[in-house]
């Protein structure tokens, strides 16, 4: 059996001041009046859901917003990541690594919270694929049916 060491990686350690700040005052939160692509992702494990809308001009992210419901980790991650993306080439999204999101959060993410932290990254990545016509958005968004 793998020896599991009881270390305090979860719990209050992850709820640092800046996480709580981004959670309670998320940046780029809301809806865009006009957008070029919209995508919703759902994390069935915890019920987190996020929708991201992107306005693109000359392959540059002109505006980007997210809305939905989520835990502090998923909301803070979205808030931090989107702040970075505005004004950058849409191409850039493809090169964002998971580690980059963890770095933005700068807390140690326990295995059970990884999905929370990466929900926004998955959503923007898929949004770019849809924008480029690589995949067709599923019609039935009710993944639980």
């Amino acid at each position: 059996m793998t020896e599991i060491i009881d270390r305090n990686y979860a719990g209050e350690g992850i709820y640092r001041e800046n996480i709580i700040d981004h959670y309670t005052h998320p940046r780029n939160f809301g809806k865009l009046e006009k957008f070029d692509v919209q995508h919703r992702e759902f994390n069935p494990l915890c019920g987190d859901e996020t929708t991201i809308e992107i306005k693109v001009e000359n392959n540059i992210i002109k505006d980007i917003k997210f809305h939905g419901k989520g835990c502090a980790i998923s909301m803070a991650a979205a808030s931090m990541l989107l702040s970075e993306l505005k004004g950058k080439p849409i191409e850039n999204i493809k090169n964002i690594s998971k580690e980059h999101v963890f770095d933005l959060l700068s807390i140690s993410i326990s295995p059970v919270r990884v999905k929370c932290a990466l929900l926004c990254l998955e959503t923007v990545r898929t949004a770019v694929k849809i924008y480029e016509g690589g995949i067709v958005e599923k019609v039935d968004k009710k993944v639980y049916m």
Partner: protein
């Protein structure tokens, strides 16, 4: 009342039977409040598993050597213990992997007896295990699936059930105790209603068998399913009860070894009950250990367990309802679990901070997404589910820890 009950029910002595309760989590004593997901195991169950592998291990129902004889005897004795525990006949109890497999066995076997456009009824408060199998079969075989509504209090709307029942209704499959709301459904009354319509009643008893005395004859249900790991036994062993005359006329779910009497190149005669439904080498050690769990529960007494857990739940309910920012889901008619949310905080955050205090609760949709999302209109909930090894002091610590949750989020 409180004092006499505490004296009568020696929880400190009981806690010593569960080795895991002595450990710490995040340097705090473990407070295990996730008993609806799975219960912890008493020493006797762990020792039985060990002892089986150390001294008796062999395959059952074949081989004439001593070990095979011993393991067969022990396995069948476990069958007998489970049958007696729920007041069923020996032939009426089938061992499966868990409640989910028991319900799938029923769905796959019973659909042979259904015709196109027949109807099946479940409720809005089902766990996915008593919902998805029927939903998928209904889709592929053109059966109609109806849902009994629940009222604002979280109780099953029996008038709605009566309205839904008709000549085409062949199966009604309902949960006994909701794993989200804690609602205790009046199964005996429901059985009468369902049988008057000549339909079959299946009961998902995963959350009721751990907390109350179950007598299948008294309830008069046709089928009943539960899991071993939720009644202090090991994982990987579940139970399906079925009335003998019904099981006799049902097709097997899985085919293979041990479920046959005679096999030729052209035909197969199936084995007698209950083995007809137990294809392949079963979970022998786990079954034997489940037998030990039942011995342990019988020793304490299901009635005493029910009484003590009721006392604990009432205390938890009282304490939680005093918290102004806590919203409780479900009615007062409840088993030993409470689902709630605290202000607008996400249950994952609440659970993470409680974990830092050594308190294990469940956060999410509790494998009942349609209920949580479409009826309660919440993305997720927090759930505390109690066992007879929990204490009033643990509840007090949990209530105090909610303050830490509030402090973290400045609520």
């Amino acid at each position: 009342m409180e004092i006499s009950l505490t004296k009568q029910f020696n929880v400190e002595k009981i806690r010593k039977d569960f080795p895991i309760l002595a450990r710490t989590v995040n340097n705090k004593p473990l407070i295990y409040f996730d008993n609806s997901a799975t219960t912890q195991k008493p020493k006797i169950v762990i020792e039985t598993l060990n002892k089986f592998f150390e001294t008796h291990n062999a395959n059952i129902h074949r081989g004439i050597h001593k070990l095979a004889e011993e393991s067969t005897l022990l396995y069948e004795e476990a069958h007998k213990k489970v049958s007696d525990f729920i007041n069923a006949e020996f032939e009426e109890v089938i061992f499966t992997k868990n409640t989910t497999e028991s319900l799938n066995l029923l769905a796959y076997s019973l659909f042979n007896n259904l015709k196109e456009n027949d109807e099946i009824i479940v409720s809005q408060m089902e766990h996915h295990s008593n919902f998805v199998p029927w939903q998928q079969l209904a889709k592929s075989k053109n059966f109609k699936l109806n849902f009994v509504k629940i009222d604002k209090e979280g109780n099953l709307d029996l008038d709605h059930l009566k309205q839904l029942l008709n000549k085409k209704t062949k199966i009604v499959s309902l949960v006994h105790i909701s794993n989200v709301l804690g609602t205790i459904n009046p199964v005996k009354e429901i059985a009468k209603i369902v049988h008057e319509n000549n339909s079959l009643l299946i009961v998902d008893a995963a959350q009721s068998v751990p907390h109350m005395k179950i007598d299948v004859k008294d309830l008069d249900v046709d089928f009943l399913a539960f899991s071993g790991h939720k009644i202090y036994g090991p994982t990987g062993i579940g139970v399906l009860y079925g009335k003998k005359h019904l099981l006799k006329n049902m097709a097997p779910f899985l085919y293979g070894g041990d479920m046959i009497r005679e096999v030729t190149f052209e035909y197969t005669n199936f084995n007698q009950l209950p083995w007809k439904f137990e294809a392949g080498t079963p979970q022998i050690a786990e079954a034997v250990a489940l037998g030990s769990a039942i011995d342990y529960l019988n020793e304490i007494g299901p009635e005493r367990i029910e009484e003590y857990e009721k006392y604990l739940t009432n205390y938890l309910y009282k304490k939680l309802s005093e918290q102004k920012d806590v919203k409780i889901y479900g009615s007062k008619n409840r088993s030993s679990l409470i689902s709630f949310n605290i202000s607008d905080l996400h249950p994952h955050d609440v659970a993470s901070i409680l974990d830092s205090e050594g308190i294990a609760i469940r956060a999410g949709h509790m494998c009942a997404m349609p209920l949580v999302r479409e009826v309660l209109k919440e993305p997720a909930v927090c759930r505390v589910s109690l066992s007879f090894y929990n204490t009033k002091e643990e509840i007090d610590k949990f209530i105090l820890a909610l303050d830490k949750v509030r402090r973290t989020f400045k609520k």
